[in-house]
């Protein structure tokens, strides 16, 4: 699913923050990627997501190398195969809840077709939201009218629509309180299981690690941090 070899990265003018000789993720595997703030977790997600281009080494995803693709192909690849959930502010404030969930279908033909195959993209969006406990008149509301926990669930539904092969989650629970956090994580993992997606779940919160197939400490695979 994900194969990293000889990856190095530095922000312009900064020191090297990533130097990963080897790292891989199996299809359907859900891993917990742990590391302190500033250790380069988000940068690694950017590289895996194909938003950043690695200056050295390769990040292969599903057997392809987005880093070697043209900008447009890389963006299309990300739109088609990856779902992303951020820490907060995941949603466009000017679209309704259900429109936010449908957004990936507008940028990716592949995910639009996948959602349509499950009974129409709108009903698929509503089904996903329903399973995450969001329905009724919330669907047509702007995201600003929802609680932070509800917003994160909408973001999850958006990442899941069209069943992308790989989900990237960047501290998706750190804005939530303890009760909502565990409920959200449970839903997240259930839906991952249901769509069969692989997951890289980034967090600094060790208490969550037990729910995953494997825990990876970024400092263990990253030689730049040493």
């Amino acid at each position: 699913m994900v194969d990293i070899s000889g990856l190095r990265f530095a922000w312009p003018g900064g020191p090297q923050i990533l130097n990963i000789p080897a790292f891989s993720l199996q299809a359907g595997e859900r891993i917990f990627l742990r590391g302190p703030s500033g250790s380069g977790k988000s940068t690694l997600l950017g590289l895996i997501g194909g938003v950043l281009r690695p200056p050295a080494g390769a990040v292969r995803i599903l057997g392809a190398d987005p880093g070697a693709m043209s900008g447009g192909r890389r963006d299309a690849f990300r739109a088609g195969h990856l779902g992303v959930v951020f820490q907060m502010f995941n949603l466009l404030p000017y679209l309704s809840v259900v429109e936010n969930v449908l957004l990936p279908c507008q940028f990716s033909e592949r995910r639009a077709r996948a959602a349509d195959a499950r009974g129409g993209r709108r009903s698929e969006a509503e089904r996903l939201l329903g399973r995450l406990g969001i329905g009724g008149d919330l669907l047509a509301r702007p995201p600003g009218a929802l609680s932070v926990g509800q917003q994160q669930r909408v973001a999850l539904a958006r990442a899941l629509i069209g069943a992308p092969e790989l989900l990237l989650a960047d501290e998706p629970t750190s804005a939530l309180d303890e009760d909502t956090k565990s409920a959200f994580l449970r839903l997240f993992l259930e839906e991952c299981e249901a769509t069969g997606s692989s997951l890289i779940f980034v967090s600094h919160d060790r208490t969550l690690a037990g729910n995953f197939h494997r825990t990876v400490d970024l400092d263990d695979i990253n030689r730049a941090a040493a």
Binding site: A76, V84, F86, L91, L92, Y94, L103, F107, E109
Partner: protein
């Protein structure tokens, strides 16, 4: 789906979501564009009104002098002639073949600041303005009696005159005159419809009446004899005019126009000047037009300021929208989608502002047009949305899109540098 697909819709929703900012921006653009288009409309109206003040007249003839001066005193009643034309010369030219009609004009008297013009019934028959309109009577008729006067629409309105009222003419053209022709009162016989030309501010009497009120006057001052004149005594006199100030000429054949103009300019018996009003008015407008060009320029700057408000509103929103841009990127939007989103938003604001400006302008003209028309004599009622408006709106949209390249470029660069998370 890597095309522009979702971008126009996203741009629309994004603008619609920021209601207050968008509304104020649209308002600023629409007001500035309504001002610009309004200036253009008034300019067109004023130019048309000006150049068509004497549309049916082929030549204006007066004593030898400048073209502009002749036009000013014979058409606009501004300034004074240097000399008059003798009645004999007028008669000779009037009798030439290919001259269809003439309208004689005798100037030099006034009534409460309005000019008095001595003329004949030919004026009401042949004088044309605008697109070939002749003057029409709102009430009454032409001269039936020696002491009948026909007044223009503004004279009637501002002085509150009605048919049958008695008035006294003054000697000279000042607003306050100390020499009144008060021994010979006139009766208002007709009131003309509004024309939007200087005729509206004119009183017309017959040439004989001009002779009559000057019986006994010598070198501009009344003699003892003038004081003794009464209407009854004057009617008994021979009132054959001896001179006119100028006259309008209508040709039966336009091909002879230039030949006749030259013949009159080189007339042996008397030094004369003949001008073709269509050409002279055009030249005069080119001079007056500087004002209009300045106004156009100023209003164009106002439009530019209006467009700058778009740039300002987008630039200031850029930082708070950085999150939104990375979300779009994460979902699969390409950097140029981000670029296109911001440019589309600017274009959308300009388009909405442009359309609203038409509503403001034509709504304003429908409501205030008649008032402007009667106050300024500029014809505006025929003005309809046209090609100019469409072109102006398109230009504004293009300018807004062009200006938006600056913030769009910054957002584009940010979206490339930020990766999946905003680094602030």
């Amino acid at each position: 789906m890597s095309g522009a697909g979702p971008i126009p819709r996203l741009a629309f929703r994004s603008v619609a979501n920021r209601q207050l900012t968008a509304l104020l921006t649209i308002l600023a653009i629409s007001l500035s564009m309504a001002l610009f288009l309004g200036v253009q409309k008034v300019k067109e109206g004023a130019e048309a009104s000006f150049e068509q003040t004497v549309s049916g007249v082929d030549l204006i003839v007066g004593a030898r002098g400048g073209d502009v001066n002749l036009i000013l005193y014979s058409v606009f009643h501004i300034g004074s002639p240097t000399a008059n034309v003798t009645w004999q010369t007028y008669q000779e030219i009037d009798g030439l073949p290919e001259i269809a009609w003439t309208i004689p004009l005798a100037l030099g008297d006034s009534h409460k600041g309005f000019r008095v013009v001595g003329t004949t019934d030919a004026f009401f028959e042949h004088y044309e303005y605008g697109r070939g309109q002749t003057v029409r009577f709102a009430g009454g008729g032409a001269f039936g009696d020696l002491f009948d006067v026909v007044i223009g629409a503004d004279v009637a309105r501002e002085l509150g005159y009605e048919i049958g009222d008695q008035i006294v003419l003054s000697h000279g053209i000042g607003a306050v005159s100390f020499s009144q022709h008060d021994n010979l009162p006139f009766r208002i016989a007709g009131i003309l419809d509004r024309t939007g030309t200087p005729v509206d501010r004119t009183l017309m009497v017959s040439l004989q009446a001009i002779e009559a009120i000057h019986v006994g006057w010598q070198s501009g001052a009344p003699t003892q004899m003038a004081r003794a004149v009464t209407p009854d005594r004057v009617r008994a006199l021979d009132l054959q005019p001896t001179q006119v100030t100028a006259f309008y000429v209508g040709m039966s054949s336009r091909t002879a126009l230039l030949r006749y103009q030259r013949a009159i300019n080189t007339y042996r018996e008397e030094p004369l000047t003949a001008v073709i009003p269509a050409i002279a008015l055009r030249q005069m407008w080119d001079v007056i037009g500087v004002v209009e060009k300045t106004l156009s320029g100023v209003s164009l700057f106002v439009v530019f300021v209006g467009l700058l408000t778009i740039l300002t509103s987008i630039l200031t929103s850029l930082n708070e929208r950085r999150r939104e841009m990375s979300v779009l990127r994460a979902i699969g939007a390409r950097p140029w989608h981000i670029f296109a989103l911001l440019v589309s938003e600017a274009a959308l604001l300009a388009l909405a502002g442009g359309l609203l400006s038409l509503v403001i302008l034509y709504g304003g003209l429908a409501l205030g047009g008649p008032a402007i028309e009667s106050a300024m004599g500029v014809r505006l009622m025929g003005v309809r949305p046209g090609l100019l408006d469409a072109a102006a709106i398109l230009a504004a949209v293009a300018c807004a899109a062009l200006l938006a390249i600056l913030p769009a470029w910054r957002a584009y660069r940010n979206s490339l540098a930020d990766g999946l998370t905003v680094r602030l």
